[in-house]
Subunit: 147 residues, 4 copies
């Protein structure tokens, strides 16, 4: 199936987020108002106890929230994170992590999204290990930013 203009735009922007590549994160599903990002567990993203660092989990959740909002914007808009808040519900232990970001409100200037982050182990039921609530700002094309 052909990718939509929105999906192409989100994927191109994601590919420019070098941090995602550094962490090992991959863009999974891109839908209208919903974006999934996967992060394999690996030694280089750990904290002191061997779990994934809260910052790594927050990074993919922030990107998932941002791109969920960005999927609702116009072609020439850019987006910046205003703020986000994350609750860590359980240690980030698993084979991989999946952040699912969804738009709650898409506004002219301010958009709000939430994310759930799941730990995945084999065929086990995904376990929700963190939840995020994030505020994003649309930057109009004339500001010289892209994506």
């Amino acid at each position: 199936m052909q990718k939509s203009e929105v999906e192409t735009r989100v994927r191109e922007s994601f590919d420019r987020q070098a941090l995602m590549n550094t962490l090992g994160a991959k863009l999974d599903i891109v839908k209208d108002g919903e974006v999934h990002i996967r992060l394999p567990a690996s030694e280089h993203i750990t904290q002191q106890h061997g779990f994934a660092h809260a910052g790594a989990i927050a990074s993919i959740a922030d990107s998932a929230c941002g791109y969920a909002c960005y999927s609702k914007m116009e072609k020439d808009d850019a987006i910046l994170s205003v703020e986000f808040k994350i609750n860590l519900l359980a240690p980030a232990a698993g084979e991989s992590f999946l952040a699912i970001g969804k738009v709650i409100r898409s506004g002219r200037t301010i958009s709000v999204a939430s994310a759930e982050i799941f730990a995945l182990v084999g065929n086990d039921e995904p376990k929700c290990i963190a939840v995020m609530q994030a505020t994003m700002m649309r930057i109009e094309s004339k500001q010289g930013l892209n994506g």
Copy 2:
């Protein structure tokens, strides 16, 4: 000067946070209730516009808050992030970034810290680009975690 037991303990724990090494972050000052972490700007931590990704900034701020609280704990305690919230005040542009975490309240179970994150360019006045408010939980030694 000899390092204090607290500083040694914080530095050993920081060295086990592989994510800090992956991002390029270095532990700078460790004081009682205050911890500084530095992150040089580099291509591999960027977002789509070439600024440092909010997740990279949040990662060093979370660690600075966590270690500020950890510096107030006992030798055998461990610490986990319960939640944090970060406001991004300006795009993360600069030669390096400095997160300064300070304990606001050190409790038996719950501790609260805040961090300011500055962008540094040459000898310019440091510019505050983000602020964090974070909640940490002390895990007693008997739980089998360390640091």
Copy 3:
């Protein structure tokens, strides 16, 4: 139908929250892990533009989150808010407001809940005007607090 022990306990505690009465808030549905609180719009809870003040909306959302978590606790436990974060999605205009709090994670010490707050006007579709993410702490009975 007879009220459950949990519902009775939640209702007795709510009745001791004098602020709820001051605002005009009523406890609506109490289920296992989910609590609804209603607040009629009225002049005495407004902000400067005549909308309900964000603090009034936050108050019922905090109580809804707290009691959702409390519904999962033991008879002699007490509960305190550790922190909460609320996004205001639209001005709080309507005939009444409904905060629906749901437990996300119920832990031994720390519980996490989220709330959606809706504005109600006649038979219109409820409009989500705010979302909250909150952290609660269980206080064991021996600490001398009740409810």
Copy 4:
């Protein structure tokens, strides 16, 4: 001493916040970028244990943050809360509470403020019982809101 245009504007707007009157809150100091609001302890703002309800504390902190930002805006601007996050550091026990809101960043569209909330008892050292981090949005005069 004559009140400044800013102080007059803040005070007029505060007087239209009926919730502040309902809670018993008074506007204290108004400076450029800093606003103090006092709330006497009283039975009608309590939660189930007799402490001031977190929602009452959040209400004065939100207003203190909002007016701190508003003090930096233009005469015809209005202001709305985008979101806020509050950590409750200790039970809100005392004779009165003082919320001190300060601007962290005053932007064209988005402003960020923080607040500390203190419990006051006689001549005792004020005790910090809560900290808030808040995001505010400037609404240009043409939107039909005032203050």
